[in-house]
């Protein structure tokens, strides 16, 4: 008996967590997928009706806005964060005595809640009292910076706050990558008289390809899940100008009482995440086996 116990204890320790993941992750995904195929409104129904919720979703102008916002926000957020992060990492890699302090400064936004970030930037970009008022106070009377309340520009305000929050983190990733590059190769290149910028573009940056991939995955993941930032900064407005899939889903689930739409939009979000993450995870897990 005790031998049997000893042999099976590891499985018994892992079992509750695994069961929880099976039910609360996989079971729940199946539940949501199922409900997304029904006519559920305020309460879930379980008779499958086909793709009617997805038809409604793709015909909804608001969902259209949410998806194109995700595209605009995601592209700019990822691109600018990567460029800024890489640049900061290279600048910091020049044997600077104050590196520790600067790194701490660049990275602290990552410790903040996105609600705090959103609140701060909402105030900074407040047209009446923030940056706009400040620059006008300097004498530039016609200066306008009303992005947070301008339906055509509000999504770019979200990009600014998002980049502020996440770029330091990308910097940390790249800095770790720079430090991992083989010093011998670089020394050899220096001896050959290759200029420093060529060493970066031809040797160091190409050797950091995996870090670019990691940074991309993390940023894409953050972009798709973005919810708090939009809620705090613009509330999805003006109107629904800055709606993202995440805020659309929340609105349908908790204020519109449209469970079918909430479920189908959540499934589309998951599909987008998986399209990005699954190839990555697959290659990672395979690389570990080899």
């Amino acid at each position: 008996m005790s031998q049997w116990l000893e042999r099976h204890i590891p499985k018994m320790v892992l079992a509750p967590s695994f069961a929880a993941v099976l039910v609360f992750v996989y079971g729940f995904i199946i539940w949501t997928a199922w409900v997304s195929l029904t006519r559920s409104r305020l309460l879930p129904k379980y008779e499958i009706e086909g793709l009617i919720q997805y038809e409604r979703l793709f015909n909804a102008p608001r969902w259209d806005t949410a998806m194109s916002n995700l595209f605009v926000f995601g592209t700019l957020f990822i691109l600018i964060s990567m460029v800024l992060g890489l640049m900061l990492a290279i600048l910091l890699d020049q044997k600077i005595r104050t590196e520790g302090v600067l790194r701490t400064i660049y990275l602290y936004p990552m410790a903040l809640s996105l609600i705090v970030t959103g609140t701060a930037w909402k105030w900074i970009m407040n047209p009446g009292l923030g940056i706009e008022a400040m620059v006008r106070g300097w004498g530039f009377e016609s200066f306008t910076f009303d992005w947070v309340i301008n339906p055509d520009k509000a999504i770019y305000a979200v990009v600014i706050a998002g980049v502020w929050q996440a770029s330091g983190f990308v910097m940390a990733l790249f800095l770790a990558g720079l430090r991992g590059v083989d010093g011998e190769i670089i020394k050899a290149a220096q001896v050959d008289g290759i200029p420093a910028w060529r060493i970066y573009t031809a040797i160091i940056i190409p050797s950091m390809a995996p870090i670019f991939l990691s940074a991309f995955i993390v940023l894409a993941h953050l972009a798709i899940k973005s919810f708090d930032l939009v809620i705090a900064l613009t509330g999805g407005g003006p109107g629904y100008a800055t709606d993202l899939p995440a805020t659309y889903m929340y609105t349908m689930a908790f204020s519109r009482g449209d469970i079918g739409q909430a479920a189908s939009s959540a499934m589309v979000m998951m599909a987008v995440v998986f399209a990005i993450i699954v190839p990555y995870l697959y290659s990672e897990l395979r690389a570990k086996h080899d």
Binding site: E6, P10, K11, V13, L14, S17, F18, A20, V21, F24, V25, Y26, F28, I29, T32, P44, I90, D93, Q94, I96, L102, Y106, Y108, P109, M110, A111, S113, I115, V116, T117, T119, A120, W123, I124, L129, I131, M134, W164, F169, A176, L178, V181, A189, Q190, A196, I204, K225, F227, I231, G235, P245, A246, M249, Y250, A262, A263, A266, M269, V273, L281
Partner: protein
């Protein structure tokens, strides 16, 4: 440290350009530092100004007269909807949610990581992959069924309900952290201990746990930051009175009644941010390690 620098040491004739480049470098680094510090600076100064001064003064001016009224209001008087008790009760809600959720999910992660890394059995890798996968799902996909489940369990809108949710969706990451840490410890250690007659728990308790301090710190910091900063679960699964501090902050800032008190908003934002900022200031190294472990090793 790589040896490539933008300005390699060369002949003295090039010294002037070296110095110029060095200055350019420091100017750029300094400007970026200002960009990252500016919002914090504005938050702090705004929170110390009177409303009158905010209306007449400039965004980046130092307060002419420092007043802590906004802080007092934010802490104990500001309205979050119909309730006007400030952030205080919600701050404590967040503490009461975060402490047990962090503790439980860390302990479960340690046990799971120990099993997966050191007691490999058939299927353990598949289980690990399935658990890892759970880290990456957008939580929107579990919001609806979880709301119903919490209702069935009698935990709807309650603090134990929120603790439960944070533990469940934290296990994936905590398991990942501990598994990646324990996998670097040679398996011979377990074999030798087994020969000496030590069992599963004994080995964990007297060999692995004493080695685990760094990864425990990383995990606790990661989980605490995640849970303290959470908004989605907080806003979805709470009700008036059980909301965490992030939800209350958002309610204060976006409440439409009365005069907009920007100084109170900023004081409230700083209060909500203080615990994680403090953790970052004290243990930034471990915070960064968690961030990069979650992304690079994943």
């Amino acid at each position: 440290m790589t040896d490539a620098t933008l300005v390699p040491a060369r002949a003295p004739a090039q010294n002037w350009s070296r110095i110029a480049l060095r200055w350019l470098l420091f100017t750029l680094l300094g400007l970026f530092a200002l960009f990252y510090l500016m919002p914090l600076f504005v938050m702090i100064t705004t929170s110390l100004k009177s409303l009158e001064e905010i209306r007449t003064g400039s965004l980046i001016a130092f307060p002419r007269e420092v007043t802590f009224d906004a802080w007092r209001t934010a802490w104990s008087e500001a309205c979050t909807g119909i309730q006007c008790e400030g952030l205080r009760p919600f701050f404590w809600n967040s503490v009461v949610i975060a402490v047990p959720a962090v503790a439980i999910s860390t302990m479960l992660g340690a046990a799971n990581g120990y099993v997966i890394a050191q007691w490999r059995f058939k299927g353990a890798n598949l289980i690990f992959s399935l658990m890892l996968f759970g880290c990456f799902i957008p939580f929107q996909v579990v919001l609806l069924p979880m709301a119903r489940m919490l209702g069935l369990m009698g935990l709807a809108g309650s603090i134990p309900g929120l603790i439960f949710v944070h533990v469940i969706y934290g296990i994936g990451f905590t398991t990942l952290f501990f598994r990646n840490f324990y996998v670097t410890i040679p398996q011979d250690l377990v074999k030798a201990a087994k020969v000496d007659g030590a069992g599963f728990f004994r080995i964990f308790w007297s060999i692995f746990l004493p080695l685990s301090l760094p990864i425990i710190v990383v995990t606790v910091i990661w989980q605490f930051t995640q849970i303290w900063n959470d908004f989605l679960f907080g806003v979805s699964f709470s009700q008036a009175g059980t909301q965490p501090v992030t939800v209350a902050l958002n309610n204060i800032v976006n409440s439409t009644t009365g005069v907009k008190e920007y100084n109170v908003d900023m004081a409230a934002a700083i209060i909500a941010a203080l615990p994680t900022l403090l953790v970052y200031a004290v243990a930034g190294k471990y915070f960064i390690r968690g961030l990069t472990a979650g992304s690079v090793k994943g």
